[in-house]
Amino acid sequence: MNALALKKGASKKSAYHLRAPVEEKEERHCLTVLVDNEPGVLARVIGLFSGRGYNIESLTVAETDHLGHRSRITVVTTGTPMVIEQIKAQLGRLVPVHDVHDLTVESAHVERELALVKVASQGNERVEALRLKDAFRARVVDSTLASFVFELTGSPEKIDAFIELMRPLGLVEVARTGVAAITRGAEGM
């Protein structure tokens, strides 16, 4: 094919490897990265993704070990298997990174996300929103006569589904935390 017609970012490997973007299947992977909570560590991780053209679908970070100053970054990314391996290797060689785990391939795991969903409506729509809230086991964390703020936790798909249902019922805005993930079973990482 004519390489000049290729879209930007179509070549996933070396500049000499010209191929169509559909040729290798992209996969979604959930990575957990344990890092020293030092200044700039998040910028290093994000800079790596943007600098090398990798995708970030979701990213969460917080210090999980206050005494050891360790933070846990959960990043959901997409890429071909070769790109995913590169992402893990590139993350692993950052100096403040202690451990990189690919939960998608390493073990069964749970992924959860929290969303705050603001809905403003009256009458039947308001009642329907409340009914769906119960079906999704969401909670009301703020209400006025004209609005609700729902708090919902669950898998990203569940939250997507809830937001879609709220759209015709007066959806105003959404705040999402991004995915936090942990392995199932007794073993820690």
Binding site: N2, A3, L4, L6, K13, S14, A15, Y16, H17, L18, R19, D36, P39, G40, A43, R44, G47, G51, M82, E85, Q86, A89, Q90, G92, R93, L94, V95, P96, H98
Partner: protein, 582 residues
């Protein structure tokens, strides 16, 4: 009671404890306290450069020729931003370097203070790691850790940003042995089973090739020695990247020459046709592989590299081994000898290689009238071979010709900007090399365009009486750009011609060194001898053929076995697919 001292004292003390004997730097407001401490001592020599980029390339030249990290000291803001090119260069070529930058005082950071820049932000992608030190008590520990990170695993540049108030404040000195380096310990031992599998493959192979790179040199002289033993044991042919020249001697019987875009025909054909490729400390860079989906289709591939992210990045390999090249080769040889291994029958392979060699790919049209650049380098090689010699280069055609026509029998003797391709590298690098090796011959093979980029560093050479020889192949053009415009852009030579060049002999006189001009092939040997005999820095203006192209060449987007040789038609050699590539 631990020792208390000022931050500036800590910096100088930590550098001494790290065994630093020379610092390349340029003073400014935000590093004055450190310069005050440097003034008060004589253990560390400070080399005053003329531009911070020069300091970083000098540190690279020093590091590449000694194996020790190069140290740079510059001020905040523009001092730091000027050092960015050299740090990026060192990152691409895996050169250990420690850069100390001054910063505005901590209480002014973020206020757009005079000469303030977000140095750690700017240099985050062009260093292996960097630190902003806000507490004098942490300063010594951070400096020791920085040296550890720069020199362990895959080497690279690190930066420490030190605000001026941290330099003035008093704090506790931490000894190197007490520094916290345990969190960064890259793996050096290769997987034993994988090494055993490589022995199996080497026993079976009938068409093996060893493809070596800068990792062999970075691993230390021991690794080059072991490589030579491995070649002697297996009888395999050896090729190398630009960065790895000298690890296996160019005079060795199994040497095929450099591979890649301007590598030899025999090296590239052997890479394409081999049945076993053992990549040792190289990274399948795009200059090496050409078109990746046509890269060495019949071979099984082994990759030894200390950096896990180099594995399977461009080329999928069958046996990856993460570890230090020297350690892996040591174990590999141990297993090879313990098993009493022998290689398969390579006689057909070697006769094929002899046929490729007979093509004589580096052949060029000699001339009695003008100096051919290849001829100039051949004469330089002939007249300096066997001397205690170090060679640096700038970037472009002259660099490739130097790689093709000069032979290196030892590691750490060849300093060139490979990954980043930094024009302006060679002159300061030659100064850094000469500082480390004051008695040796140091030649910078240059092009006039590259050389002009940092020519102010001639002042540094003159100030410190460094007899560096600047061997400039002057074609009055950006030769490699011109070559690509000829091949790719219909001979439209857009801005690749320098209309105004200085008189290099007068320039040399202005700098206070010696200038030599040569434009007649008959005078060349005598002029080179004059350059070598002169006890001081020389600018040699060698006027060469203006339209010479660098061959052989793998055109962009083509495979190894589609090389262009010197007399080949170059019309339409690069198709639309290749044209988008660099």
């Amino acid at each position: 009671m631990a020792k208390q001292m000022t931050g500036a004292e800590i910096v100088v003390r930590a550098l001494k404890d790290q065994g630093v004997d020379v610092v390349f730097g340029y003073p400014g407001g935000a590093v004055l306290p450190i310069y005050d401490e440097i003034f008060k001592q004589n253990d560390i020599r400070h080399i005053l450069v003329r531009h911070e980029q020069g300091a970083t390339h000098m540190a690279e030249g020093y590091a590449r020729s000694t194996g020790k990290p190069g140290v740079v000291l510059v001020t905040s803001g523009p001092g730091a931003t000027n050092a960015v090119t050299g740090m990026t260069d060192a990152l691409m070529d895996s050169i250990p370097m420690v850069v100390l930058t001054g910063q505005v005082p901590t209480f002014m950071i973020g206020n757009d203070a005079f000469q303030e820049a977000d140095t750690v932000g700017i240099t985050r992608p062009c260093t292996k790691h960097n630190w902003l030190v806000k507490d004098t008590d942490r300063l010594a520990d951070t400096i020791h850790k920085a040296f550890h990170v720069a020199t362990h695993g895959r080497p690279g540049p690190v930066l420490i940003d030190i605000p001026k108030d941290v330099q003035f404040a008093r704090g506790t000195y931490t000894e190197p042995k007490d520094a916290r380096t345990e969190t960064y310990q890259p793996r050096t031992e290769g997987d034993a089973d994988a090494i055993e599998a490589v022995v199996d493959l080497l026993e079976e192979a009938e068409r093996p090739i060893l493809y070596t790179g800068g990792g062999v040199i970075n691993s230390g002289p021991q690794a080059s020695r072991l490589l030579r033993e491995l070649v002697a044991e297996t009888g395999a042919p050896v090729t190398s990247t630009l960065m790895g020249l000298g690890a296996y001697p160019a005079s060795g019987a199994n040497w095929l020459g450099m591979l890649g875009m301007h590598g030899t025909y025999e090296a590239n054909m052997a890479m394409h046709d081999c049945d076993l490729m053992v990549c040792i400390g190289a990274r399948f860079d795009d200059r090496i592989t050409g078109r990746t989906d046509a890269f060495s289709p019949m071979s099984r591939k082994v990759h030894i590299d200390i950096d896990p992210s180099s594995i399977n990045k461009n080329i999928h390999v069958d046996i990856p081994i993460v570890g230090d090249v020297g350690r892996v080769l040591e174990v590999l040889l141990e297993r090879w000898r313990a098993r009493g291994s022998k290689t398969g029958d390579q006689s057909a392979w070697w006769s094929q290689i002899a046929a490729w060699k007979a093509v004589d790919c580096l052949r060029y049209q000699p001339s009695q009238k003008t100096i051919k650049p290849q001829h100039a380098i051949e004469r330089l090689e002939a007249l300096t071979r066997g001397m205690d010699r170090y060679v640096t280069t700038e970037v472009g055609q002259h660099q490739m010709w130097a790689a093709q026509f000069m032979g290196f029998d030892e590691p750490n003797r060849w300093m060139t900007s490979g990954g980043l391709g930094t024009m302006g590298y060679g002159l300061p690098a030659s100064i850094g090399v000469q500082i480390a090796h004051p008695e040796s011959l140091v030649v910078n093979v240059a092009g006039e365009a590259s050389w002009l980029m940092v020519m102010q560093e001639m002042c540094t050479a003159v100030q410190y009486r460094l007899p560096v020889k600047q061997f400039i192949l002057n074609n009055e053009r950006l030769g490699m750009v011109r070559q690509w415009q000829e091949l790719l852009h219909g001979e439209r030579y857009s801005h690749s011609y320098s209309e105004a060049l200085p008189d290099f002999v007068k320039l040399a006189e202005a700098f206070g060194c010696k200038g030599i001009h040569c434009n007649d092939p008959a005078d060349l040997d005598e002029a080179i001898r004059e350059m070598l005999a002169y006890d001081g820095p020389v600018i040699f203006d060698c006027l060469v053929e203006k339209h010479e192209n660098c061959f052989p060449m793998i055109p962009s987007g083509k495979a190894h076995n589609e090389m262009l040789l010197g007399e080949a038609s170059t019309e339409g050699a690069i198709d639309a697919g290749g044209a988008v590539l660099v």
